[in-house]
């Protein structure tokens, strides 16, 4: 029972199709292996992202922005309030009919 099977197996092996490999297949395989094995190069963008993700730095940056926004807002608010008050005073003492 085994002899015909062996023949059949041998026949199938002999007729197994061997597809043609694409050009430079071997070089490409080795290149990809080398790319994966090599350590990833870090760009300045990665370094900056890593810095931003550090809790101390992120907290300090948020606090700095909060303070800067409050300072700028206070100065701008004072300026606007003075301007509005000036317009009120001018409207009272120097109506547009005169100016």
């Amino acid at each position: 029972m085994n002899a015909p099977d062996q023949n059949l197996t041998a026949l199938l092996r002999a007729n197994r199709p061997a597809p043609e490999l694409p050009p430079r297949f071997r070089q490409n395989v080795w290149r990809r292996i080398e790319d994966v094995a090599a350590p990833a190069t870090e760009t300045w963008l990665d370094a900056l992202a890593a810095l931003v993700l550090r809790p101390r730095f992120a907290l300090a940056l948020a606090a700095g922005l909060l303070l800067a926004g409050m300072l700028a807002g206070t100065l701008d608010g004072r300026h606007l309030a003075r301007h509005d008050a000036q317009l009120n005073y001018l409207a009272a003492v120097a109506p547009h009919a005169v100016r």
């Binding site: 900056l48 931003v52 909060l66 309030a81 003492v93 109506p95 009919a97």
Partner: protein
């Protein structure tokens, strides 16, 4: 998209939101704190840091001046309405224009006299600053216009 780029864009957006939020909150709080819309003299208090006694004196001057100013303004407004009803270039229109000009001159003269009186109620340096500022604010525009019309552009008016 690159992961680092996404992180940085997110951080930038968060930072902008923090800055804008604190900016607008602080501005709103400061404005509502400083503003006293009912008081015309609030600007003098904010800008010139006057004492209570000086403010009281200025308030007295201010309240004495307002009725005069209001009366002249009403006369000007009435004369302007009458002028609008008249035909252009008629002798009556010219008379009315002269009347309005005289009223405006009187009003302006009163206004300047008031500014001088107010400046004298302040400490000398502050009073001088106030007077300069008020002249610039009230007479500055017309002065600039007159200068521009009498200066380089005068030759263009040949009609």
């Amino acid at each position: 998209m690159n992961r680092s780029l996404v992180i940085l864009i997110g951080a930038l957006a968060l930072g902008a939101a923090i800055f804008a939020g604190s900016f607008f909150c602080a501005r709103h709080t400061t404005m509502s704190c400083c503003e006293q819309p009912a008081d015309d003299l609030n600007w003098l208090r904010l800008e010139f840091h006057l004492s209570d006694a000086e403010m009281a004196h200025i308030r007295e001057l201010h309240e004495g001046y307002l009725p005069q100013c209001g009366e002249l303004c009403q006369k000007i407004a009435a004369a302007k309405q009458e002028l609008a009803a008249l035909t252009n270039n008629s002798p009556e229109a010219l008379t009315k224009q002269n009347e309005i000009a005289a009223l405006r001159a009187q009003c302006q003269s009163n206004m300047l006299a008031h500014f001088i009186a107010v400046s004298q109620a302040m400490p000398p340096e502050v009073g001088q600053r106030y007077l300069t500022e008020m002249k610039k604010l009230t007479l500055g525009d017309t002065g600039q216009m007159e200068q521009s019309m009498s200066g380089d552009s005068a030759h263009e008016h040949q009609h």
